[in-house]
Symmetry: C2
Subunit: 113 residues, 2 copies
């Protein structure tokens, strides 16, 4: 397998890990449902019943991995899902798919690129 850059694997693993927790996956899906406007922190918190400090911690994590973006409007912070980042994920996962054994017939089940 062609060696992926060390940083890339870590970066994508961190992205997946950031979504790999129930509350944060809920946040991402909620933000996607409200795409592309996004939502205000308070509304996310009341909808998902997450305390302010805990929610802020989760949003910070998602932001750190580039999965969400923030903009300020008056006193409110609007968070939106970062569509571009999400699009990268499957491509990275399947990048080297089925290349190892030189299969004559590409395996259509998984390999899309």
């Amino acid at each position: 397998m062609a060696k992926p850059k060390q940083e890339d694997v870590v970066r994508f693993a961190d992205m997946l890990g950031a979504m790999g927790t129930e509350p944060r996956l809920r946040i991402m899906r909620l933000l996607l449902s409200a795409h592309p406007e996004g939502m205000v922190v308070g509304e996310i918190g009341s909808e998902l019943a997450i305390s302010p400090s805990t929610l802020s911690h989760h949003l910070e994590k998602l932001k750190g991995e580039g999965l969400v973006r923030v903009r300020r409007e008056k006193t409110f912070l609007w968070y939106t899902a970062n569509a571009d980042a999400l699009q990268e994920l499957p491509g990275f996962l399947y990048a080297e798919c089925c290349t190892r054994n030189k299969a004559i017939e590409p395996q259509r089940i998984v390999c899309r690129q």
Copy 2:
């Protein structure tokens, strides 16, 4: 947003979390590169330089989340990526995408279904 079943969110979060660590993401990509035959445990371990017990622990986790499958052949255990499970992920993530604000123009950037 239509409420996803509690178990589904947990299940998909666990799947993402299982891939959300550098060694396990490496394992998944390696197994995908060797798809659909898969690889023997020992070969995975030597290629990725992971100790047997640690590797076994990671494979157990991936298996538990349904991301890989195992078959025995003589003394060897062959692990393969579970393509079907991987396919489910994007669909679940985007399931309710952009439905919240009744946008007249569907947002093509993210919403594919």
